[in-house]
């Protein structure tokens, strides 16, 4: 499969996650530029079979269901051994993966074992002048970089959530052939227990219509009250970026972003949030985004519909007053 882009999709209990479908969409878009073919693989125990079926519904040349008892539950040792054996049998040009916590866990090792490099956190791929360029944020999103791969070896890239759209996946006219691959077993040294959730999320931001969210720019815990006043005036829920919850200024249940909740309210009002990618992936689906930040270069303004460059401690009190007036 030399001239091939292989997508390694992620499944849980037989279901593909959305970013895996986005990755398929990315592979299909890139294949149109390069003329390469797209294949897809899914890894796991018996339940991976239904995920393979789902993949076969996408316009891909072939689907591989790589299964084995040692692949359920997930361990980096199991996945790296199985995928290394599979990929070594017929190395694709490019391996695309969704940039999930699980991929972050095993993909660097897999790439290194194959003598290849992994370009992580990719937000765009393009083929230009015979060269593959992978675009990714750097310096916390202040810049983006076009990364080129040296040498002819296989390349690995993990695509950030939202880089491509899952609803743009081209469907198959007839289901693709699913090839069953018996996974090579290796020594598994880590022993995972069943995943669990801590106390039920007390704050369900996913259902909120309006969210006022605070970031580092709020400076001190006592200033959270200011954001709360604005939220109260608007009838909004209070969200936060990771550093605020890390500092214990608000409970973790308020956290928006890749490690917190993914929200899509009618209004997301970001106060003093710089807009690191880990936060943005959790809120960029909001209908309207308003950002107040003192730094005009803050990446939050890349996704904002309306922006205010200014001191939130001056803007927010004025805003509270105006909102109260408007609401009578």
């Amino acid at each position: 499969m030399a001239e091939t882009i292989l997508v390694i999709a992620e499944q849980r209990e037989g279901k593909l996650n959305r970013v895996s479908l986005e990755t398929v969409a990315g592979a299909q878009a890139l294949a149109k530029q390069t003329g390469w073919s797209v294949e897809a693989a899914v890894v796991g125990g018996e339940s991976a079979a239904s995920a393979a079926k789902e993949l076969a519904g996408c316009a891909v040349a072939k689907v591989y269901a790589i299964t084995g008892a040692a692949l359920e539950p997930y361990t980096p040792d199991g996945y790296v051994a199985a995928l290394n054996a599979f990929l070594s049998a017929g190395t694709p040009k490019l391996v695309l993966l969704p940039h999930t916590y699980q991929v972050r866990d095993f993909a660097p090792r897999l790439a290194a074992r194959m003598g290849a490099a992994l370009v992580s956190d990719v937000v765009g791929c393009r083929f230009e002048g015979g060269k593959l360029l992978l675009t990714r944020p750097m310096f916390q999103g202040k810049f983006v970089a076009d990364i080129a791969l040296n040498g002819d070896g296989p390349a690995f890239a993990s695509l950030q959530s939202g880089a491509y759209r899952a609803d743009k996946v081209e469907a198959a006219s007839a289901p693709a052939h699913v090839e069953q691959v018996q996974a090579a077993a290796g020594e598994i040294r880590t022993h995972p227990e069943a995943p669990f959730q801590e106390a039920r999320q007390a704050v369900d931001l996913t259902q909120a219509e309006l969210i006022v969210s605070v970031g580092r720019g709020i400076k001190e815990q006592k200033n959270i009250a200011l954001a709360q006043s604005l939220a109260d005036a608007l009838g909004a829920s209070l969200g936060a970026s990771r550093p605020i919850c890390d500092a214990g200024w608000l409970p973790m249940a308020h956290q928006v972003g890749s490690s917190g909740q993914t929200v899509s309210p009618k209004l997301y009002l970001a106060l003093g949030i710089s807009g690191a990618i880990q936060h943005v992936v959790g809120m960029k689906g909001s209908r309207h985004i308003v950002a107040v930040n003192k730094d005009a270069g803050a990446p939050i303004f890349e996704v904002a519909d309306v922006g205010v460059v200014g001191d939130l401690f001056a803007v927010v009190p004025a805003l509270i007053e105006e909102v109260k007036k408007a609401k009578g």
Binding site: Q140, T190, Q197
Partner: protein, 256 residues
């Protein structure tokens, strides 16, 4: 327990950064600080030492200025430091950085290696798992708790969407530490004084060069991201801005 903590010096979070002339990296004249996720890795290592005894060693690869993060770590309580000192370490890809670090500790015998979750400059989030691969050790990422157990450790891993998981593994192992799991300590005056006399081993580029390979990645171009969205910027006094915004919330967004 003998723990190695990998640390990195990165540009300060709020520092304005400028592109260099080739537009493939930032200009060197920025202000720098310790990569915050690495500070949490150090904090966890110091807490493990307080609980179980042992030694905490800190390591960095970077130019002379990077020594500052090691001195700071020594002042906070690390026992000794290793500095792979050369400008060339700053422009290595993740695999070569891991190779250099692994080569520098080949005569040591650590029980655990900690790294931060990712760096605030490159953000590859790969150095930890790559070191595990090079050393042939097991690893686990995004760790929130570590408990010593008979024959190894039991760690709490963060998964996505509010899920967690406990994982048991033998030692030696590599762990990447989640940020924000503890309160970072400050260096005490006594600590700062003592740090001056703690051992700091320097490793020259030539000592690890034979372990390195050509970089597999090249940054072709670094640039300010293009806007995908038309952002309307509101200007004026706070009162004016507030009035304009409320009008928008009411008339255009229909949320008031």
């Amino acid at each position: 327990m003998k723990i190695l903590v990998c640390m990195k010096q990165v540009p300060q979070k709020d520092a304005p950064l400028k592109l260099n002339e080739q537009a493939n990296w930032i200009r060197e004249d920025a202000s720098y600080e310790v990569n915050e996720p690495d500070a949490y890795a150090l904090e966890e290592a110091l807490r493990q030492k307080e609980k179980n005894g042992g030694e905490v060693v800190v390591i960095t690869a970077g130019p002379a200025r990077a020594q500052h993060v090691l001195r700071e770590a020594l002042a906070k309580g690390a026992d000794r430091a290793i500095h792979l000192e050369d400008d060339r370490f700053a422009s290595m890809d993740a695999v070569n950085t891991a190779r250099a670090l692994a080569a520098a500790i080949k005569d040591e015998s650590f029980d655990m290696i900690f790294t931060g979750l990712q760096s605030d400059d490159c953000g590859w989030a790969q150095t930890g798992p790559l070191m595990a691969e090079l050393l042939g050790w097991p690893h686990a990422t995004i760790i929130m708790e570590i408990e010593a157990k008979e024959g190894g450790i039991r760690v709490k891993r963060e998964l996505e969407s509010g899920f967690f998981q406990y994982v048991e593994m033998p030692l030696p192992a590599v762990l990447t530490i989640q940020s924000g799991i503890s309160k970072l300590r400050y260096a005490t005056l006594l600590g700062i004084k003592q740090a001056k006399n703690k051992p700091l081993r320097k490793v020259a580029y030539d000592e690890v060069a034979s372990s390195l390979q050509p970089n597999q990645l090249t940054i072709e171009r670094l640039y300010v991201p293009q806007k995908t969205k038309q952002t309307e910027m509101l200007e004026g006094s706070p009162q004016e801005v507030a009035r304009q915004l409320v009008a928008k919330l009411h008339d255009e967004m229909h949320v008031l």
